[in-house]
Structures are given as structure tokens and as C-alpha cells.
Amino acid sequence: MTNRNIFSLPYSEVTPKRDYLSRRALLAAAGFSFAGLRAAAATKLTGYRKSPFSTSEKQTPYNAITSYNNYYEFGLDKDMPARNARNFKTSPWTIRIDGEVAKEKAIDFDALVKMAPLEERVYRLRCVEGWSMVVPWIGFPLSALIKAAEPTSKAKYVRFETYFNLKQMPEARYAGMPFPYVEALRMDEAMHPLTILSVGLYGETLPNQNGAPVRLVVPWKYGFKSAKSIVRIRFTEKQPASTWMIANGREYGFYANVNPEVDHPRWSQAKERRIGEFGKRDTLKFNGYGDQVASLYSGLDLRKNY
């Protein structure tokens, strides 16, 4: 799995999941084992373990997760990233680590995926727009990278910067937002065991439209906090401004914790539509992860710190 080619194969050349699944079914019927097929489905990830943090809820189908994306650099409509990110170049890829650290450095993607054992984390994802999914991410705790980065005592926040290049992302000009996209977490949020860096989903490397090759996943916050295609992680003393805070600070705050009691100024957050379902369900505080994360915010007025 450390073979460079495995990660550099363009998404357009990947066998569609439907095809290889039916191919597998055929071969299985003929008595072949799946092991020999690894080369054919070249972006498969192996050797990851299950996580006790995973939900057993019904997972959103692969097709929905990979065709319904908010990734404004690749277009404003949900179906545009899947089309426009097809030739996005994700290899070679390095993440710059800087700011309040013992020593600034760059981590190569191959080194990054070896920082900690990969795990499957089946998480609920709640978008600020009022829809949700259940996604089987593959990744590792962000805390592993933070420890390796050796932040100084001054490091209070972690700031994530996304890849941006207008040549590869011409649609970005229509978003009317400042890019590169920036998100940030408080140090304790970033160190929380639920917070992961994801490199895959459904047992495969991340499709480009889902934030390849590496993205953040913070399951108790609205989806926009989970920055995609990360190229820089900076440790800071002061709270960084995120892209959405700059674009529209009245509507998007630093915390963005999922909270049915605090409405978005333009719509209610009390309910959500799970993708694939007709009716709506009640939104859970902290997206249902309150037992694990509510203590991070004790004493904080969540209405003011939205």
C-alpha cells in the first residue's frame, strides 16, 4: 500500500465501484478469492481497523457521498465537484507544518499515512444547509500529527489551509469568497480523539471531490469545518479567522458546533434530511456526539459562540 502509483492513479481511471463489485461477485461465484483482485481495484486501502467510535447507522451509498459535494473551488452546484475535480492533481502532495512548533517542516503524503494506524470511522456528517449523511471514513486521529509536530506552549489553535490554484479550479471565481479556504480548531478540539485526518472512504482512497488526498473530519461540527485537500497546518496563539467567518461572520462563527437550538440566521437547524430519506429527522446536539465533546464547551455560551 506504500506504492506511490496507488495514490497517483487518476480517479477517471479507477474502476467504478459498481463494476468491480459485480466483477467480484462473478469471480466469487467462480471460486476466486478477493485477495488477488487488489491490483485491479487500485485505490483500495487495506489493513485499517474498525473503530469503537463508529456508528452502526445505515451508511449513505457511495454514489451519493461522491456525487453530492460542497467544494466551491470546483463549482457551486452539488454535482459540479465530481465533474470538475476529475483531473485534480493530488500527487505529489506535502503538508507544510508551521507556526508555533519546535521546528517547521513539510510532511510528504506517504509519510503522513504512516503516522498512525489507519482506522475506519463511520461518522454522521451534518451540513449547515440542513442535510446529513453517514460516511465510512478511513483515517487516523489528528492528535497523532499534532504530537509529531511538537507544538510550543504558545500554540492555542490549529489552522488548516486548503489547496488553491485557479488554474486547476477555474470555477472558484464564481464563489465570491476568499481562497485558499481556511478553517481552524481550538487545540483541545483538534486533539480530541474523534477528530481525524481522513485519506479515504468506503475502503478506498478519497475521491477528489471529497477532499483528496487528505481532509479534516470533525463529526460534531457542521461539515464546512472539515476542510478538504489540506496543504498547510499552522499552530497559532490567536484564534484564526476562518473563510466563512470572513465571508459572512454574522452567520458563521468560529465554533460551528451542530446545535438544533441555535438557528442559522436564515433557516432553522432543528431538523435535517438524511440523504436518501424522505422525511426529516430531529438534529441532535453536537450531532449526537455530546457525550464525548460537550465537556469541551462547559461554561461557553453556545448561542454567542456559534
Binding site: N63, A64, S67, Y68, Y72, L76, K78, D79, E129, W131, Y174, A175, G176, M177, A247, N248, R266, W267, S268, R273, I275, G276, F278, G279, K280
Partner: protein, 199 residues
């Protein structure tokens, strides 16, 4: 050209063209091709076509005068009624598939969320226009009063554009292009009105 515009066939073709987007959405829905969130696709599709058809109906008078094709008037009522049709679909998608007829919630939306307020206003202003669209009503009201009433369409279209501007998260250029389109159509009317006064 003018003869062609006067035929029943042309009218049928315009009808088919204006019904096309709804038929296409229904077909895609039936084939499950509206994407991962079909209800959102229907909401956006019916909304954008309400605005488009409304702007088409507002473009008919300028087009008649500029192109010298008075026959185009035959399509104005049809376009207006199709705008009302798409607006009704859009409203019911919201009332049913988004709110499931939870009236207290809907009322809260209308008074609290300004983009909903604007959208509701745009729709409400179309209702009397659709209701008085028949020849009988033109007669009953008298041409002058009927025309005055139907100028409400300008406010409805403006409210519709504002509804769109206020609802987007990012990318103001799209609703902005509709605002520019409506602005151009209204500027033409303003210019005509000024010219009429001077003459």
C-alpha cells in the same frame, strides 16, 4: 415570420417549450436521476424556472416593440400563467416536502426569515394576476384598471429576485445576473415612459 407567429402550431410549440422544464424534472424524478437530494433539486429547479419564465413574460413587450412583432403578445398571458405554475410548484415543494405542512413552523419562517418573506410576497402578488388573466376579467375591470393591477408583476419579479439574492450562501453572481436582467427590462420601460411623456 409574423404569419408564422400567428398560427396555432406556434402557440402549441411555445406551450411545449414552457412546460418542458417541468416535464423534464418529472421524467428525471421518475428515473431517479435528480441526484442524491431530489427534493433539493426540485426546490431549486422550480424556483429558478419561476424566475426565468417571469422574466420571459416581462421581455415580451420590449421584444414586440423592438423587433416590430406585435404578434408576440399572444404568448404573454401564457408565459405569465406558466410563471405562476412554476411558482405554485415551488411553493408546494416548500410547504410539503420541506415543512410537511407544519403551519407554526412555516409561519415562523415567513416572519423570521427575510428570504422566505420575499418569496411569499412574490408568490402572493402573482395570485391576483393569475386569477384575472381571462378576457372576461379584462372586460369586467376595464383595460386601464386591469393594466394598473397587472403592473404588480414588476413588484413580484423584484421580490422574486430579492428572494434568490437573500437565500444563497455564496456565489452572488448567479442571482445577480437575474437582478441585472430584470433591471434591464425595467430600464427599457422607464425609458419608454419618459419618451412617451416628452412626446
Amino acid at each position: 415570420m409574423r404569419k408564422l407567429l400567428s398560427t396555432g402550431w406556434t402557440k402549441a410549440a411555445v406551450f411545449a417549450a414552457l412546460a418542458g422544464p417541468a416535464a423534464w424534472m418529472a421524467w428525471q424524478g421518475y428515473r431517479d436521476e435528480l441526484g442524491a437530494n431530489p427534493i433539493e433539486a426540485i426546490t431549486k429547479g422550480t424556483g429558478i424556472w419561476t424566475l426565468r419564465v417571469l422574466l420571459i413574460s416581462l421581455a415580451i413587450t420590449p421584444a414586440r416593440k423592438m423587433l416590430g412583432l406585435p404578434e408576440l403578445i399572444r404568448f404573454r398571458r401564457m408565459a405569465g400563467l406558466f410563471a405562476f405554475f412554476y411558482g405554485t410548484l415551488h411553493l408546494f415543494t416548500y410547504l410539503w416536502l420541506d415543512k410537511f405542512f407544519e403551519w407554526p413552523e412555516i409561519w415562523e419562517d415567513v416572519v423570521k426569515r427575510r428570504f422566505i418573506t420575499a418569496g411569499m410576497m412574490a408568490f402572493a402578488l402573482m395570485v391576483p394576476l393569475a386569477a384575472t388573466s381571462t378576457a372576461g376579467w379584462i372586460r369586467r375591470l376595464g383595460g386601464r384598471r386591469w393594466q394598473a393591477l397587472h403592473r404588480l408583476v414588476y413588484i413580484s419579479a423584484a421580490a422574486g429576485v430579492v428572494h434568490y439574492l437573500w437565500l444563497v450562501k455564496a456565489g452572488v453572481m448567479r442571482p445577480g445576473s437575474y437582478a441585472a436582467g430584470l433591471g434591464a427590462l425595467m430600464a427599457w420601460r422607464g425609458w419608454e415612459w419618459l419618451r412617451g411623456r416628452r412626446a
